[in-house]
């Protein structure tokens, strides 16, 4: 029988939640790395027992961990993230030039074909790769070097590269997203990049249609249709049908189109999920009701999914990397909150139940479907 392993990164450690394919009884392991901020953990699709983890601290900086046994034991690997050449400057909050400074790893994306290769999205925004299981890291400097880098500016959460998507049909193609620069694509394995933000409109920047400067919160793709992308922007839910060359809004009847997470059903490429958040100044669900919204039409027409979720006095947030799906039938949907709950639905969102209720604030959720 299949199993599911949920990897949860929190403000004070990592947790590994496991269940059989029914997904109704869960074992909780953790905290791993207690007291550290665990921004992200993700397993290799090639070897699911190989898991990479980003461990950070305001005191002691960045530490990288990897596991070869599905998160039971861990070993420390390389934590030297040196920008390629002279780092240069980006814009600071006040518009002045500010030197690029490494702060932390926000997102890890293991290769689809090699368990030893893993990509890291970091703050200040840059993309690194390790080809030796995390021991050594080199920057894919073409991203920062393509020309617009000096115009990038941090969002409120820092200038982070938080999304990395590998195209399963084209190994040379990769997408990344940065707050608050926007989305970018490479078609040559990471040497050259271009902004893919046409169609995004952001009223909070001087030129609402600018090539860069958009606060993209997250991007999702279904592996069977890698040219179709869904985006939760600072405001607006967006869709691209041409690999990001152009975008159009699909917010439709959402109660608010602000939010952080977005994900796609494992078996239905037109079924997508978001968690609407009231506004950029009120990071909690509208009306104190925690609702996942699902569209079965690739956007525009949305339905609220509420069964099992708190429908009063709920004022948590769901951060950008804190939603994931499994690939069982029916598709499981998972998300974690800043209130420390991890909710799971084993029926594609119809009903929900908390796996755990009282973890530290959840930063990230990833799911592995195991044989």
């Amino acid at each position: 029988m299949s199993k599911v392993r949920v990897l949860v990164g929190t403000r004070k450690g990592a947790f590994v939640l496991t269940s059989d394919g029914k997904r109704d009884k869960w074992e909780v392991s953790g905290p791993h790395f207690a007291g550290w901020e665990m921004y992200h953990l993700k397993g290799s699709p090639v070897d699911p027992n190989r898991i990479y983890a980003s461990q950070t601290s305001g005191w002691f900086g960045q530490v990288m961990q990897r596991s070869n046994d599905g998160g039971k034991t861990w070993e420390t690997v390389g934590n030297k993230f040196a920008y390629d050449g002279v780092p240069g400057t980006h814009q600071w909050y006040d518009g002045t030039p500010h030197p690029w400074e490494f702060k932390r790893v926000w997102h890890l994306e293991p290769s689809l074909t090699d368990a030893e290769t893993v990509y890291a999205g970091v703050e200040d925004a840059a993309l690194f790769v390790s080809r030796d299981g995390g021991q050594n890291w080199e920057e894919l400097a073409g991203l920062r070097g393509h020309g617009s880098g000096p115009q990038w500016q941090p969002g409120a959460g820092g200038m982070c590269l938080h999304t990395i998507i590998l195209d399963p049909k084209n190994r040379e193609r990769m997408y990344i997203a940065i707050s608050a620069a926007g989305a970018f694509r490479t078609d040559d394995g990471g040497s050259n990049w271009k902004p893919i933000n046409r169609g995004l409109t952001s009223q909070y920047i001087p030129d609402p249609d600018a090539e860069v400067g958009h606060c993209v919160h997250h991007v999702a793709m279904h592996p069977a249709r890698p040219d179709v992308l869904f985006m939760q922007k600072h405001w607006d839910v967006m869709r691209s049908d041409d690999a990001g060359d152009s975008w159009h809004e699909v917010s439709g009847n959402l109660p608010t189109d602000f939010g952080f997470v977005i994900d796609v059903h494992a078996h239905e490429p037109e079924t997508i999920y978001v968690v609407p958040i009231k506004s950029d100044s009120e990071h909690f669900p509208p009306d104190g009701k925690l609702r996942v919204y699902r569209s079965r039409t690739g956007g525009n027409e949305w339905e609220a999914l509420t069964k099992g979720l708190p429908q009063s006095d709920c004022y948590v947030n769901v951060l950008r990397d804190a939603m994931a799906v499994d690939s069982l039938d029916k598709c499981g949907i998972y998300f974690g909150t800043t209130g420390g709950q991890v909710y799971a639905s084993a029926d594609a969102g119809e009903t929900w139940a908390p796996i755990v209720r009282d973890l530290p604030a959840v930063l990230s959720v990833e799911v592995q479907t195991l044989p």
Partner: protein, 98 residues
């Protein structure tokens, strides 16, 4: 030998309990002690000082003999009581946040 006390998170990372001892060739300076510490426990590289310039991380402090040595030049000699192992060299996570 120099006695070094690490904060709990770095003890966990280095998989040690209590004080650690490091051997320093020549003058026992702050830099020499940290070099020896990182050589003995490579997982500590980058957690006390930056990888690049070896600059102390902002929320890490160095105490010894009741003094804050954090702002001392890294090549100045440590107090005699540290050099002769009467007192430990303390690596401290600064009080910050709530």
């Amino acid at each position: 030998m120099i006695r070094v006390v690490l904060p709990v998170h770095l003890r966990t990372l280095a998989r040690v309990n209590g004080e650690v001892m490091v051997e320093v060739d020549g003058d026992a300076t702050q830099r020499a002690v940290l070099d020896a510490l990182e050589a003995k426990y490579p997982v500590l590289r980058g957690t006390i000082r930056d990888h690049g310039g070896g600059k102390r991380r902002p929320f890490v402090r160095f105490f010894a003999c009741g003094q804050d040595l954090s702002h001392e030049p890294p090549d100045s000699r440590l107090p005699e009581a540290v050099r002769n192992a009467q007192e430990p060299f303390l690596v401290v996570g600064a009080i910050a946040g709530g």
